[in-house]
């Protein structure tokens, strides 16, 4: 073997007939020659050495991880799985693609007509073409949607299809997706990564761009707008951060330029939909919904739809808002209709169905059932009335008992099942484990209607990859990896980007009117968590440092620190009393758990977990770097927790956390626009810091140690102002100097006064109702500023500083009241709606 073959990708090694035996080979023909539409790509790829391809693959994985491209495996936090991309794209021949464009347009038209009939005149049922058993008993037949689908309206805006190719090269539709189809974000990300790592290839081969499709999607959504508005307000409705595809919702909202909203952000008034923002209610015209249609309105659909918008169905019925897809479309998502499509196509379009579905038999039809029994062992059974992919039985892979149970079930409820043929999926080369291997592909395509109502097929799609040709779960998440899909342009590929679509002069503005109240709420708590994490970390660091110090000196300040920890709810108050402390486990032993346990409600671990959760839920409103730094900081912290319970090693973890919090603060201070997002985050932070400083001082006063020098040193340490103090007074540590810095010095970012002054400025900027007198919020903050500014030298010097303690107690309480008042006035209570019969 000579050097050159080692340095290039040797596609001949997989061209031999045999590796793809029994399935359709996307790349090579029966003689082992590359198919014509692959030759150019293979030639380009052959110029890349395997080492280089492996390097780029690693780079791709790194990028994906950094972009946070994951999906929640169980819909819970913490259990997410990274997305994975194979850099070798799948090529599909232009002529095949043109045929698919026609065939999928036909299929989309057919499904839309089916929806219109079933939610309208129901002629198909009256004439007996469709048996009522496939519609009326279905939970997915939403009777509230009757009349939602008149022929003049577009019902279907986004239609996805699962495709597979049989061994003879014919295409089959494995499933239709009409109920909030997912995957577009992954398609985009796959394209961006593949194009970035194979940049020249994309250009030289004139691969069709994806942007025109997304422009069409935006246009289609704009056309849905019920009123003649020049700039209809379109929002993207997500089921929320706990949902599997939340990442994609955030990604798409950003890419398409829509406000990302959750059900709680929208309100229905007078049968119109509004977005709740800081500056009031703003009318919404079109909702690009990523929620399943059975869970969009708790009024109609009950408690299972509690994340939806009460009254939404009535607003749709009144014609004041449009949803994409229009509720009701999801009915035809279920496999039972596949058994009827050829007939329905003749009936509704007067032509034969171009793209066949995977052969499907509905067991509720006696003649179909007879067929099913004859070849039961070769088939795949599925619930007839649920979307494909959630539950399926591959009979040949089941145990005898399981088969017997399934047969019994089919006998009892034949109409609840469909049976489908198995398909051996086609194969294409992929790069896995640093070598070329065959991979079996499943394809998901997307269509949107153009102005004339013709459905346009996206020139690309989501390719999922499995190592074997066995049936693959019909889900975006199935398979071991994914690929980009390339279609060569006829001529040169149109160079458009999504930005060019809106190439009009902008009217300058400095604010974002559409700032949802929920986001303000989350940012407010994010600011508080950030401050809490910082403060607790500093307090714990000072404590742990002293507990682990080698010196035999008496450490009088430890008592004050423990008092502060107890007052913060970190340790039991009994540790402060020697006679009780003996009965408790040694504090060194309990501290690690207290520090790291995210379920300890007041603990540091909880603050960090909250930080991570809240940055995820406002991901659309903060920079990618800020999000990443927070996620990584939290991960490092919990990893350290898992690895040690040794006190001195804890110090390292706490130190690192303090550094991470500092970089997060830096990103916020340096990068965030001084708009409402930043303002609410900072308000949360300032209130918490004001309270923390006040509480720390009160704790040390209670331990009657405030006047002692070691304690004063600790205060400077925890409040991060040792440097400043030294530069002012050298080593002469005195109570009034320290307390001035901690309370009254308006230039010290950790002082109580500084927080108060900042808050006063923030509150001036918040939207308020016009009223001649000052609002309660303003009065509260003015009272705090006033109280701190009125402090005298004598009060700072007094020993014990009794009057000062009273002032601080009052200020702390007012900070809390301010927090409550702001929450009540500006922030939504993130409570779920309740049902009257609950």
């Amino acid at each position: 073997m000579n050097q050159t073959t080692l340095d290039t990708l040797d596609f001949n090694s997989i061209a031999s007939p045999g590796w793809a035996s029994g399935v359709f080979d996307e790349t090579f023909d029966a003689t082992g020659k590359p198919r014509p539409h692959w030759t150019a790509l293979l030639a380009e790829l052959s110029a890349i050495s395997p080492t280089e391809l492996s390097r780029r693959t690693q780079q791709a994985e790194k990028t994906l991880q950094e972009n946070g491209l994951t999906f929640n495996v169980f819909g819970d936090e913490g259990s997410s799985r990274p997305w994975s991309v194979d850099l070798l794209p799948l090529m599909i021949e232009r002529s095949q693609w043109n045929w698919l464009q026609q065939a999928l347009n036909q299929r989309a038209q057919l499904l839309q007509l089916l929806v219109r009939d079933l939610y309208g005149p129901q002629n198909l049922l009256r004439s007996g073409i469709l048996p009522p058993e496939v519609v009326f008993p279905q939970p997915r037949f939403l009777r509230e949607c009757m009349g939602f689908h008149p022929p003049e309206l577009t019902s279907l805006t986004l239609y996805a299809t699962e495709l597979a190719r049989s061994p003879d090269g014919r295409w089959f539709a494995m499933a239709d997706r009409t109920d909030a189809p997912v995957g577009l974000g992954f398609v985009l990300e796959n394209r961006i990564i593949t194009a970035r790592l194979l940049p020249q290839v994309v250009h030289r081969l004139e691969i069709e761009r994806l942007a025109p499709f997304f422009i069409q999607l935006k246009n289609s959504l704009r056309r849905l707008c019920p009123a003649q508005t020049e700039h209809p307000r379109i929002v993207l409705l997500t089921p929320g951060p706990r949902h599997r595809f939340y990442f994609e919702d955030v990604y798409l909202a950003r890419y398409l330029g829509y406000t990302l909203v959750e059900g709680g952000d929208l309100a229905v008034r007078d049968d119109q939909v509004f977005l709740k923002t800081l500056s009031g209610l703003h009318r919404v015209d079109v909702i690009f919904s990523r929620c399943m249609e059975h869970s969009i309105d708790p009024l109609v659909q009950g408690a299972t739809a509690n994340s939806g918008v009460p009254g939404l169905m009535q607003a749709i019925r009144a014609g004041n808002v449009r949803l994409a897809n229009t509720p009701g479309c999801g009915l035809v998502d279920v496999p039972v209709f596949m058994a009827f499509l050829p007939q329905l196509c003749q009936e509704l379009l007067g032509e034969p169905l171009m793209l066949p579905s995977i052969p499907t038999w509905w067991c509720g039809n006696p003649t179909d059932l007879e067929q099913v029994w004859k070849r039961f062992d070769d088939l795949v059974l599925k619930p007839a009335f649920r979307s494909s992919g959630q539950e399926e039985y591959i009979v040949s892979e089941m145990s005898d008992e399981a088969i017997a149970a399934l047969k019994q079930n089919v006998i009892q409820h034949p109409d609840h099942f469909v049976a489908q043929e198995r398909i051996e999926r086609s194969a294409a080369p992929c790069w896995r484990d640093n070598r070329l291997q065959p991979g079996h592909v499943a394809l998901r395509t997307y269509c949107v209607p153009d102005e004339s109502g013709t459905f346009e097929l996206m020139p690309g799609g989501l390719v999922r990859l499995a190592p074997t040709p066995e049936p693959m779960e019909l889900s975006v998440l199935a398979g071991v990896s994914s690929k980009d899909l390339w279609i060569q342009a006829e001529g040169t590929a149109a160079k458009v980007s999504l930005l060019a679509a809106e190439d009009a002069p902008v009217v300058l503005k400095r604010s974002d009117a559409l700032f949802p109240s929920r986001v303000a709420d989350n940012l407010f708590w994010l600011g508080q968590s950030l401050e809490r994490a910082d403060f607790l970390a500093r307090l714990l660091r000072s404590t742990v440092e002293r507990m682990t110090s080698e010196s035999d000196d008496d450490l009088p300040e430890l008592q004050g620190l423990l008092r502060a920890l107890a007052d913060q709810g970190q340790i039991e108050a009994d540790y402060l009393l020697e006679e009780f402390a003996l009965a408790l486990p040694r504090i060194e032993l309990i501290l690690p758990k207290l520090i790291f346990d995210p379920t300890e409600p007041k603990g540091l671990g909880n603050a960090v977990a909250e930080l991570r959760r809240l940055t995820s839920s406002v991901r659309d409103w903060i920079s990618a770097e800020l999000w990443r730094t927070t996620q990584e900081g939290a991960e490092n912290f919990f990893r350290a927790a898992a690895e040690t319970d040794d006190l001195s090693e804890l110090l390292t973890a706490i130190d690192q956390l303090i550094l991470d919090v500092a970089s997060i603060s830096g990103l916020i201070q340096d990068g965030m626009i001084r708009g409402p997002s930043w303002r609410f985050l900072d308000v949360g932070r300032r209130i918490d810091r004001g309270r923390n400083t006040a509480n720390l001082l009160l704790s040390t006063m209670a331990a009657s140690q405030i006047a002692e020098k070691p304690m004063l040193k600790v205060l400077l340490e925890v409040l991060d102002c040792r440097m400043t103090y030294r530069s002012r007074y050298l080593e002469n540590i005195q109570q009034n100097g320290v307390l001035d810095l901690a309370i009254t010095d308006e230039t010290n970012p950790h002082s109580v006064a500084y927080q108060a002054v900042c808050l006063a400025a923030h509150i001036e900027e918040l939207p308020t109702a016009q009223h001649p007198l000052r609002s309660q919020v303003k009065r509260l903050i003015m009272r705090i500023v006033h109280a701190v500014r009125m402090l005298t030298d004598a009060q700072l010097e007094a020993s014990p500083p009794k009057e000062l303690a009273d002032v601080l107690t009052g200020v702390e309480k007012q900070f809390k009241e301010l927090s409550d008042e702001l929450t009540r006035k500006y922030l939504v209570l993130s409570v779920r709606p309740r049902q009257i019969n609950d």
Binding site: G128, F136, P310, I836
Partner: protein, 293 residues
Amino acid sequence: MKYRLTHITTYSGSEPISVGHNQAWLRPRQLPYQNCESSELKISPSPSMLTYREDAFGNTVATFSFDEGYDTLRIEAKSVVTVQRQRTAAPVTKPWEVVNKEIHKLRTEAEFQALHYVYDSPLAFVFPEAEAYVRASFSPGRPIAEAATHLMQRVHDDFKFDPHTTTVSTPVTLVLEQRSGVCQDFAHVMLSMFRSLGVAARYVSGYIRTYPKPGQPRLVGADASHAWVSVFCGPDAGWVDLDPTNNLLVNDEHITVAWGRDYSDIPPLRGVFIGGGHPHLHVSVDVEPLPSR
């Protein structure tokens, strides 16, 4: 018979309720044997929005919402209705198997509409015990109305009326097992039984005239919502209403408000709200017979 119906629902929270959206099925249907002369809804506080529409089953549903919040919600539905329906014996009908089969031939609109009520619904679904129970009444070839009336009689005899044994969320399977419940439960049980045979049957909500004890005055507001079932007996005989709670063929002492596949399609009041603390729901119903001219 002519009646004045008053149905008052009050809903109050221990804390104020902010924004709320509601739907109410409280307006009696207009029917060949029932004339709803007037029907009005008085809501306090005054809702921001109130509209009426027809639902998928032909009932009138009121939708109303509150943008401002409230402490107590009071909904008073007042209607005047005349009912003329005399039925003392089951009509003569075809055998139940024949009626079942003919529904699917879809020769009439009535049969097509009946199809909505043949299949499982959220609260009234087929289960083996229901089918086992119904067979004793639906012997082969038995006329459908006769079989259904026989079934009603059995349910009335076998089941104990006891409001303490069920709640709105007690499943129909448990009702059959424990053989007790209230009118709503008996209706659901019978629907499960009918549907296990493929018989089209629907849930009817409404009111029934009550009589005071001899020598005592009629108590105002002491009545209640009532529920029964209606069975499709073929396009000629139509729907026959049966009240298993009272073992009655429904006549002019029953007032029909709405019908659906089961209770969940047509609750008197459905709503979503925010806040409220520990809310309390109180319902008072009055069925007052009026002198007919």
